[in-house]
Symmetry: C2
Subunit: 288 residues, 2 copies
């Protein structure tokens, strides 16, 4: 049973890949791409990620059945509120790398409007985070199979209607992803460790490498620092939105690093081997 119109706000790597997958799998009658810059929209259209595009949010979402907000995280809450105002029947989700502040902000904006307005609180938004990022952004890197076999975290809150959880879970599953349910706060604590901290560490490692030696950087350096090439502005927003949890994860990392540091400073082969084995055990558990 295909969806009628799906609107994607922000057609970059994730938004574009969602569009490509929807169209390739014929899951929607119509996919509209909404964005600020016509150049990006044109790219997404040429890439086959959307049926048509508009820079006008109201025009794009008015008749949409599902709206996925794929803007940078700092813009998500306001965009969700604007969508909810315009398309009172649409199911709305996002694809942001943080969840607690976005969900809190969406609740705040929506209930503020309720106080002065006539609409009932609209629990038609539920947060999502497809774990399928890349250090490259833009619709030119979008792929129809980006979400296949990947995890999408969906973050129900106490106020979320059960039907909405199911509806959005089915949506992501229809694109080939497997869905994990976590509260927004649990999501942020976990992702601080599994995504945000690695970005911070990769950046610090890249920046600490003396440039005259970069020609001697081989595959290990390349892998370990790859995500330092990610967009600086997007990641500044992500770090600030999840500041407390990232700082906690950083403390855990520093503690672990001090174990390596001491073993090395002491020339303690046994302690070093033990610490490396423990790291290898955890890394091997995840696979390539």
């Amino acid at each position: 049973m295909p969806l009628k119109r799906v609107a994607i706000v922000g057609v970059g790597l994730i938004g574009g890949s969602v569009g490509l997958a929807l169209r390739e799998r014929r899951l929607a009658e119509d996919v509209v791409g909404i964005g600020r810059r016509s150049v990006s929209l044109e790219k997404a259209k040429r890439r086959g990620a959307v049926d048509w595009t508009t820079t006008n949010l109201v025009e794009g979402v008015t008749d949409a059945e599902v709206v996925i907000v794929c803007t940078p995280v700092a813009a998500i809450a306001d965009t969700v509120a604007a969508v909810a105002n315009t398309a009172p029947r649409a199911t709305i989700t996002d694809a942001g790398s943080t969840k607690a502040e976005i969900c809190r902000e969406v609740r705040r904006v929506m209930s503020a409007e309720v106080v002065g307005g006539t609409r009932p609180p609209a629990p038609r938004f539920i947060g999502s985070h497809p774990l399928a990022g890349d250090h490259r952004t833009g619709p030119e890197y979008a792929r129809a199979d980006l979400l296949e076999g990947r995890v999408v975290v969906v973050t129900p809150e106490d106020s979320t209607l059960p039907g909405l959880v199911e509806r959005i879970s089915d949506f992501w599953a229809s694109l080939g992803a497997s869905v994990e349910l976590l509260s927004p706060e649990e999501h942020d604590r976990a992702l601080a460790a599994t995504s945000h901290l690695p970005h911070l560490i990769a950046a610090a490692l890249a920046a600490s490498t003396p440039e005259e030696w970069l020609r001697l950087a081989a595959r290990g350096w390349g892998d370990t620092t790859r995500i330092a090439a990610a967009d600086s502005q997007l990641w500044t927003q992500i770090f600030l939105q999840n500041r407390t949890a990232v700082l906690d994860a950083l403390r855990r990392f520093e503690h672990r690093l001090s174990v390596f540091d001491e073993a090395l400073a002491d020339g303690d082969a046994a302690a070093l081997a033990t610490a490396l084995q423990e790291a290898k055990r955890i890394r091997d558990a995840v696979g390539d």
Copy 2:
């Protein structure tokens, strides 16, 4: 002009790849694989990396024109000395990830023998380090093109005869690598930053990730921690052989990390963006 016999001591990922490249490019009349374990040697033979194998070092190197010692770093110096004793005409190099301690130890062992013996100092050894490692080891991962387009650092010392530098440089170039000449000490300082520190950081990051969240690890975590899966024993040796330079690189990293840490703790978007941009600039300079 093909070489006569080339002997490879330790036919794992690097040794096996050297053998495959020599045979595929018909650069040697005969490639012999030498090792302790017949099982590994058999694998290398089946993989096509060597013409024949032996567990007897003397038998393997006696008539060799070039010998490449690809054992774990802690065993390289003694193996080089044993090869030099047995094959007085062979040109000898290694493929170890550290250089200063190996070169120092080779000089020490060789000159100690000279005092009591009749042989002149034999400057037929020169250190090499092909920057083409992997977190996987063993001949099953060997590839004829592993060194193509990669850098091999060759480390002449004051005592090294110029002809030897050229001979070994030509050898690596014939396998498709480009050669960089550095002193053993320069090599170790550079590689501490571009290879050894990334291994330490990747291991600390992997080990600091709470295991219940590993299912939420996506590509960024996977890239950043990939080399934490490397062999713990091999890397313990590497870290200990290059302890001082790795500790220096670690201090630079910690200093840089504290910049990110402070910016994050202060919620300073501008400082965070600047630090991330600087990291991206350095990472982008290297390419994928």
